[in-house]
Symmetry: C2
Subunit: 356 residues, 2 copies
DNA sequence: CTGAAAGCGCTTACAG
DNA sequence: CTGAAAGCGCTTACAG
């Protein structure tokens, strides 16, 4: 009988890796050999400290350090099904609204030893769903920021693995949203205090969940302050959309306007100024979100700040709680983050013609 | 003899997963059963089409579709060591300079069936190295955008797996950088054509590789156009840093200034305007990068556009070529992307006092 | 072209 | 507390 042939079909890659830095990647078997224990003991020592005697623990730790051991995440993921990874899908990676959300999620993820995987839907519900499914295969859970897909798709995903939604409420799925009331209330009261009587809201996309909330908040705040609220539709929530809506805003006779978002507000302000109007002397403009660059304008934009970073961080915390079995108390509620008015130069008292 | 006991230690997770959506996750074994072939044939059909007869291929494809099969990326990664994942580390996730880089990398990654994993170094070389090592464990390769760590650390990483650097040149490591010459040349010629004689460069961080390149380009462009080039140091490359440097800029007597980046340019413009100066009538200001918001200012900022999106896309393409064994031709060279002047309102002809 | 088998590097229920 | 063993779901060299 000859020696048994050892197949090592998966080894060509390993063979390529070996020479890379002289010592290749150590495995728990290498550690076991050095420490003189069984590989399963090494596994226990490394993955759940406390289940192993202090002495062996140290032996193993030292061996691991000596060999410069790094766990192989795939090998770990295969039997457990967990990857310590969570996904975040945003509608548009170049939209500043999402920057702080990304950072917030990233930061709390890293703090809790989770890695963030980011994808973008390019504002398409179909792309979003594809990306989500793809992520579901590898990530432990998912955060959807301002998702475009419909509630049923979101619920279907949530049936598979934990999902947290930002900027939207979906029945049965936990969510984190900015509570617009406080910020809008402050904005409207500030305008009222400056003598404005009729103020306009420039709405966002018709299907936007958030735009509807903001309009509601606006209406009720105006009612409360006894101001006349008028509504103007925009074509798209961008700087360009803001420019296009300027005529309509003017024709309402409103002396102050709250825009669905900062981009609209900035475009509107640019167009009005180009037409010779003075901001805020002739018209006050208030944005929404306090995105990066909101203070680049002249005058800098007054805006209702959305706590986007906190939303991202809150969503991540929520998701990780779910993954780690905490927070069973209120797994499906909505977490509300407070908004606040950031008073800058684009809003103020109306000046009579003679004062200008 | 009793029935052999079957240990299934790794199954509690699977058991938890099963009920989730009624049918659990199908494996190649399930497909094999349905299609009536061996699992290894399924594997071949799914991972390298063409190695299997057309008939079996179809059989397998249909079974996979019917079972709604999704590969398990971890199971695939374990024997092959590949994950179809690449990492991108940026210094600051809220710095708009990186937005387009991220998007560019993301887009070409998705196109080539790779997933982007994003991390942030928070401007710290140490954090950056930690994040990089961590990513190296799971990703197939790495892109470093404006890395803060030193050349040796980068080379050490590159010894392990393919690495591509953006916005910096590191000997022995492939890189993608904007070629500043064309854009700066255009900017300086434009200023010269508008009658400026002495122009200032507001430098970025002393250790910044890019700032040094931009200053060099500025100097030689000025020499070519026979303009006097003066240099002003800034404390930090932010809007605030721009404000602080205004006095120094004024004291040089320059009538135009090119700033290391748009943030500095915007801060500088705000401070000068606040001091009563007219831009561009009394002083022209040109930024660098064309970040989001550069056109929010009044006047909108003239700037040298860096093709950041293309840099991200180019770096990703380069990395994936490396991973897929292409591009052996020039594995270590520098890929240069062209810059260009974006002429907006903040630069122009100097007006004599009487004309203002 | 296809089957049978070994192996990737971990984790964990089962016995001591 | 620790060892021996099975299993996670794939891939691929080896034989037909």
């Amino acid at each position: 009988m000859t020696e048994p042939k050892i197949h090592s079909p998966a080894t060509p890659e390993a063979a390529k890796k070996q020479p890379r830095d002289g010592k290749g990647n150590a495995t728990i078997y290498d550690i076991a050999k050095v420490a003189g224990v069984n590989p399963s003991t090494v596994s226990r020592a490394l993955s759940k400290p406390g289940r192993v005697s202090a002495k062996t623990q140290k032996l193993i730790q030292d061996a691991a350090a000596e060999l410069n051991y790094q766990v192989n995440p795939f090998a770990r993921a295969l039997p457990t099904g967990r990857t310590n990874t969570f996904g975040l899908i945003v509608a548009d990676i170049t939209n500043p609204t999402f920057f702080d959300i990304i950072r917030g999620a990233q930061t709390t993820g890293t703090l809790r030893d989770y890695t963030l995987v980011l994808a973008e839907s390019a504002e398409s519900a179909a792309t979003e769903l594809t990306a989500a499914r793809r992520m579901m295969a590898t990530a432990d859970g998912l955060i959807l920021a301002s998702p475009r897909m419909d509630d049923d798709d979101i619920r279907a995903l949530a049936r598979d693995k934990p999902v947290v939604v930002i900027n939207r409420e979906v029945e049965g799925v936990p969510s984190v949203i900015p509570d617009v009331r406080k910020g809008i209330g402050e904005a409207v009261r500030s305008l009222a205090a400056n003598g404005h009587k009729r103020i306009a809201f420039v709405a966002g996309p018709a299907q936007s969940w958030m735009s509807a909330r903001r309009w509601e908040g606006f209406e009720s705040a105006c009612e409360w302050s006894r101001l006349e609220a008028v509504r103007v539709e925009s074509t798209k929530p961008t700087v360009d959309g803001g420019r296009q809506v300027a005529r309509d805003v003017l024709s309402t006779g409103a002396t102050a306007v709250l825009a669905y978002n900062d981009l609209l507000a900035i475009g509107l302000m640019q167009e009005l100024q180009a037409g010779g109007m003075a901001v805020p002397d002739q018209i006050s403009i208030v944005g929404f979100d306090d995105i990066f660059g909101a203070d680049f304008t002249t005058p800098p934009l007054t805006t209702v700040r959305s706590p986007l970073g906190e939303c991202g961080a809150g969503a991540a915390a929520r998701l990780l709680d779910l993954l780690q079995g905490k927070g069973n108390a209120e797994p499906e509620g909505t977490l509300q983050m407070e908004t606040e008015l950031v008073l800058r130069g684009s809003s103020g008292r109306l000046l009579a013609a003679g004062q200008r």
